[in-house]
């Protein structure tokens, strides 16, 4: 099997284009189906690596600190993400516990670690050990990270609880807010270009 040089296929309608370098701020769209084919990337692997490391630090904060505290009749109750997962497990909603753990903890963590690993080497134009596996896993895990949905969910829960209880926001919710911002920046980045940005080694 051979590979042909600089072609680009629209994933959404199978139209073939010749690839060309995009200038600052340019976005290439498919003429047939209007899907985004390629966009100019302002951030190089080094900047992306820095962002991933930031996201990891924030992610750790978001997971170790309580998210919110409720006060009622002098009693205070707070919870972390894991407190929530364990509680769902014990309340006979194991399915929900597993879904929550996967989409809010394991998949985001896996995504950040793999991206960090791949980018760390990509800064020097190298392919990380296990590059191929990491890239394929990133592709599979991609749609299953839901931290930003959780932030909105936490907001709704706070408003619902606010009617009956005193609500005290904890550092965890702010960390989640920051994480959402970082995720939004990442959403515009096409990791596929790392395939072209890195040199294949004989290994």
């Amino acid at each position: 099997m051979e590979t042909s040089p600089p072609l680009l296929i629209c994933e959404h309608c199978d139209t073939v284009y010749r690839r060309r370098e995009l200038g600052c701020g340019e976005v290439a769209r498919c003429v047939r189906c209007a899907a985004v084919l390629d966009r100019y990337h302002r951030l190089g692997p080094g900047a992306m690596f820095a962002l991933v490391v930031t996201a990891m630090v924030v992610f750790i904060q978001a997971n170790i600190w309580p998210i919110v505290t409720l006060g009622f009749n002098g009693q205070l109750i707070s919870t972390t993400l894991w407190g929530m997962i364990v509680m769902m497990w014990h309340q006979d909603a194991q399915v929900v516990a597993v879904l929550t753990a996967a989409t809010l903890f394991f998949f985001p963590m896996c995504k950040m670690m793999l991206l960090g690993w791949v980018l760390f080497f990509a800064r020097n134009g190298k392919r990380a050990p296990g590059f191929r596996w990491a890239m394929v896993t990133l592709y599979r895990v991609g749609p299953w990270t839901m931290s930003e949905v959780f932030v909105l969910g936490a907001l709704v829960a706070i408003v619902k609880a606010h009617t009956y209880f005193d609500v005290i926001p904890d550092p965890g919710i702010f960390a989640y807010g920051a994480l959402t911002l970082l995720i939004t920046i990442f959403a515009g980045i096409d990791t596929r270009r790392l395939w072209d940005a890195t040199e294949e080694q004989s290994a």
């Binding site: 959404h12 199978d14 009622f72 109750i77 769902m88 929900v96 709704v156 829960a157 619902k160 596929r192």
Partner: protein, 209 residues
């Protein structure tokens, strides 16, 4: 027609789903991308039947997800069960119409839109319809983009359950509805992933817009 916009299938090449590499179609089943070693398909395997199956399964689960209560609030022996819809109504009545609209959109509008959109896409593509192809492509991308926001209600219930644990005074418990709802969201996500948007453009007629 196709001189202007050639399609991969006409040129005998396949785009790898995973890494985007353009590969020559050697006409062998089970070919793999030379760069990322993922299986190469001309179109996603059994796209119609898989998507239909997942969509029907999701719809079957969507019924108990809406009919059964998702959350129980117990305060001083007073038991109050909420379904998804009654939760939205409660938010509205208690003075947060903006959040009520968000939850209504995420939990009711988005799943309904997904069912409706995917059925439309499956049916029209199967008939090789040339009707509004570009709009249908956009509809598919919209479904992909907003699909996972439906998990919102599941997280709300989970967080409230973990927080509202004041013994006899006040307590929140998850009820089976939320499990069905979570599974519905996962299944609809799988359904939209297994649909191949290129099928929209695979017609018998010309490829002109």
């Amino acid at each position: 027609m196709s001189d202007v916009l050639p399609r991969a299938s006409e040129l005998g090449v396949i785009g790898c789903h995973v890494c985007g590499l353009v590969c020559k179609d050697i006409g062998v089943d089970g070919a793999h991308c030379p760069r990322c070693h993922s299986a190469l398909h001309y179109r996603k395997a059994a796209s119609y039947s898989r998507t239909w199956a997942l969509l029907i399964a999701a719809f079957v689960l969507y019924i108990p997800a809406n009919v059964l209560p998702i959350m129980r609030t117990v305060s001083l022996g007073d038991v109050d069960d909420n379904t998804i819809l009654s939760g939205v109504v409660e938010l509205w009545v208690k003075g947060s119409p903006d959040l009520a609209i968000i939850v209504f959109t995420a939990s009711i509008m988005v799943p309904m839109l997904k069912f409706f959109a995917l059925v439309t896409l499956l049916w029209s593509s199967h008939r090789s319809s040339t009707w509004a192809r570009q709009q249908r492509s956009k509809l598919y991308r919209l479904v992909e983009l907003i699909g996972y926001w439906s998990m919102l209600d599941v997280f709300v219930v989970a967080l409230l359950t973990a927080l509202v644990q004041f013994g006899l005074l006040s307590r929140v418990e998850p009820l089976p509805g939320v499990i069905f709802f979570g599974l519905t969201v996962v299944l609809t996500m799988f359904a939209s992933m297994s649909f191949d948007p290129r099928l929209i453009w695979d017609g018998r007629e010309s490829d002109d817009r």
